[in-house]
Symmetry: C2
């Protein structure tokens, strides 16, 4: 319960001198009266639930109890039919996996059940049945609230009921769903590409239309796009082969999930690989770097490339025009760092990407024992991560780890042992000593295989390949959510009668009233 | 013309070695071919205009001419039927009045007419016929583009044609229109409250429905809301009186327009006062501070209060809970500073407002010769001003004037000669020495007259007052645009049959297709 009743509760907002101000008993009078009144109106026709933030009350000292939060439940614990415990700040209640653990709300909701006989519901990034059951068994909560886990897998409760825990598509905590809310756009989910497309495209998180032919498909690339395309095509019943040049399926996920706090991203791969492994219409070819001739000879009806992208050792000016790099010693990309290349302090990261990579590399390299400075033309590191409720945590992490952030600056010249930076607003320049220089900003599609195949239409025809498509990062580098979506879009609209139907979806149109 | 043809022109984007790369003649080949092709298709049925940014071309050296911009027009000047000259960055092309003068684009478009016989169109915050005529007469432009001036007064060309220049509602350059574009919301205009309401409410910038009674109206307060209410009521034909406690009409405009770059805001007052002065159904009472008894005795049918708001000497924590202030020496509000109160260096401004006041006061006080530090919990000073294309200019101005900005910090304690500030993210605290402390963040409605009248319904009834309303800052403190809108809303919906119709407007509803 927030807003007016909460402002009455809060001692710094409530300056009243009447029976609604002063003691906590008085400050909670309005809430008590509201609950009692609603209970009497509801009678036995409805239960009355009360949603309340405890973090601030826990920090207020109480004369009669451990805190004002404890005193509050001692006074009012039996009044409603259900308590719903939350925090006063949504970004703290819904942090990304990078900055939280399942059950992270326990300090704020764990004490309530000891002070009331009424059932208590709470949240806390519960993604697996184990997390949830633990809370119930240990008497922390009676009901478990799991919005994000339900977005990633709306059939999570059914799967628990049916004993199919291993089939749960587990939330990775990337907060892409939260980012949609923060941006006011339709919801998306990295793990569940059908989320937000139920009405517009008619997609279902568990069911997909059966195949309309016996055409075989070769998926080249085992990253998020290729894995999702493979799984969804296989579920439709098509014979599918997936090939990857590496020893393991996973693509960028295998590299990025070693970064601090990013291990939950592995679930994108784990879920899909484990599902694919149970299917008898998928062949997996690892350590297979296919060239155009291989592809033409393999005899598949359809070919889709999902070959990812690669970070570029390049920089751009404010107009995204490339800046010439003459001194190339110790200039590195995120992939170099993730592969464990040699680094020399002081490491400079120039981050003109908007999302997580720059800040994560700074942490990663600092944890290896290097001095790290991150330079960015933006006003903060990873500015897009505001949308995923992460930007404040990123700022705190950099401060805590002693990583220097130089904001509002862009590198305009690279020397052997320094970089010249320019203030984006004042154009004042200065030189910063550098060891290794990591450039984070440009990614380029790995689309040479696709382009080579595409350029020889005659050979394609002769080989019997009916369609060739390029999806995911190798088509347009983006976040993991975009790659999974591209894979699903390919599979769900594959082999339709109308070739254009890939772009068909329902729209809302405005009417004047 | 931007995008692809412009990227061909731009030497840092164009790395081609064929006949489309290298010399400017080659780099402008694509544009030349496009124009020639379009000309031949259009024939004599349509003219072909070309829109091009010159700022970067002007900065590129040319071997054969003064710059690549000059060379470009020497090569291609005669090709299209019309040249439209712009800048590569919209926020520079459309700066607010605070940071520009009419005709500010002359360095970028002034040379073009010397290099082509074709007509040239350009923009440059032209608000008055004088600005426009000067450009034509001096051979700078053939056509004048004026988006913002036309938003403020869509009938500007007609008024020039009819010799009614004094009736033009001149753009103040606040960039509220631009802020709507930047926020993706329907357009608003400080000077023209009907802008964006033509369809939804049926408002017209020049015509307003005639009165439906002979009811008289007393408008209390001569700021933006009161002036607009008075003018629009008078245009409808109602007998109106406007009273103000000051010597001059204008309200907050009179105070704020003395701040650096803010003098164009005076036009909000100037236009309305000059129009009102031409009407015989408006009485103006200055230096009239009305009390409730005065109002009740004056015998008006309707009373509206537009008594403004006042900045508060208070601070709030991140949850907008008030923080107790114990040391009150030299704690000032923006009004104190604008009235010319005594200031002691080092002046500290604590700015937890989002808009222009904090940064403007910092400039104003620095210009008086004081050392100034501005502390803000935000990541930059005046963050909302991003929307009005001002935030970079504000940052630059603070840097140029040597005003120190401490961002990400909030004052948590005020001592006699220092303030304790807390980092919003790390919670690290430090003390900053202070002289005068100016608090910019809270405004409170001046609504005591309204509340006093409202609380005595019997007296209101007995006095014959049919309705009492409170509008503008005295109802809800906001920007000037909101006050003008509130005044117009009151006047335009005044005296309707249906009392609720003030809230009636058309809406777009989504339909599924």
């Amino acid at each position: 319960m927030g807003f007016l009743p909460y402002h009455f509760l809060h001692p710094t907002f409530n300056n009243r001198s009447d029976e609604y101000g002063g003691s906590l008993e008085n400050r909670s009078r309005l809430m008590r009266e509201l609950i009692t009144e609603m209970k009497s109106v509801a009678g036995d026709k409805a239960a009355i639930a009360v949603r309340i933030s405890t973090d601030e009350l826990l920090s207020f000292k109480s004369e009669s109890s451990k805190s004002e939060a404890h005193e509050f439940f001692e006074l009012n614990g039996e009044l409603p039919d259900l308590w719903d415990i939350k925090l006063s700040k949504w970004s703290k209640e819904c942090p990304s996996s990078r900055f939280s653990e399942p059950g992270h709300m326990e300090p704020y909701n764990g004490f309530v059940k000891q002070l009331t006989s009424k059932p208590v519901v709470g949240v806390g990034w519960f993604t697996s049945p184990d997390n949830m059951v633990s809370q119930i068994n240990r008497g922390i909560l009676d009901f478990v609230g799991s919005a994000r886990a339900s977005i990633a897998d709306p059939f999570l409760p059914n799967k628990i009921l049916e004993g199919k825990e291993d089939d749960i598509r587990e939330c990775i905590g990337c907060n892409i769903c939260a980012s949609c809310y923060n941006q006011g756009i339709p919801v998306r989910c990295t793990q569940n590409p059908s989320m937000g497309e139920e009405w517009r495209r008619g997609w279902h998180p568990e069911r997909i239309k059966p195949k309309s032919s016996d055409n075989s498909v070769l998926v080249i690339g085992g990253g998020p796009a290729g894995l999702e395309a493979t799984l969804s095509l296989a579920r439709r019943g098509y014979p599918v082969a997936i090939a990857d040049s590496e020893k393991e399926l996973g693509g960028r996920i295998n590299k990025e999930s070693i970064l601090p706090g990013m291990s939950p991203y592995k679930r994108v791969t784990d879920y899909r690989v484990s599902q694919i492994n149970q299917m008898d219409n998928v062949d997996i070819y690892l350590e297979n770097k296919l060239n155009p001739d291989d592809v033409l000879k393999l005899g598949f009806d359809h070919v889709v490339t999902a070959t990812g992208s690669v970070w570029q050792p390049s920089i751009m000016d404010e107009k995204t025009a490339p800046i010439a790099i003459t001194k190339t010693n110790s200039i590195l990309t995120p992939e170099d760092v993730l592969k464990g290349c040699e680094l020399t302090s002081p490491v400079i990261i120039f981050d003109f990407d908007y999302y997580y990579m720059g800040g994560l590399l700074a942490e990663f390299i600092k944890d290896l024992g290097h001095e790290v400075t991150i330079i960015t033309p933006f006003e903060k590191v990873s500015p897009w991560s505001f949308n995923s409720n992460e930007v404040t945590e990123i700022k705190l992490k950099l401060l805590e780890k002693g990583i220097k952030a130089i904001t509002d600056h862009r590198i305009i010249e690279i020397e052997e042992s320094s970089v010249r930076i320019n203030h984006e607003v004042s154009n004042k320049q200065k030189d910063i000593t550098r060891g290794s220089l990591v450039l984070v900003g440009n990614r380029k599609q790995n689309d040479s295989l696709y382009k080579s195949l595409k350029s020889n239409q005659e050979a394609l025809k002769a080989s019997g390949i009916k369609t060739l498509q390029n999806i995911g990062d190798s088509n347009a580098p983006g976040a993991v959510v975009h790659a999974v979506y591209a894979g699903h879009l390919y599979a769900n609209t594959f082999d339709q009668e109308d070739g254009d139907s890939i772009n068909e979806f329902k729209l809302e149109y405005p009417v004047i009233q």
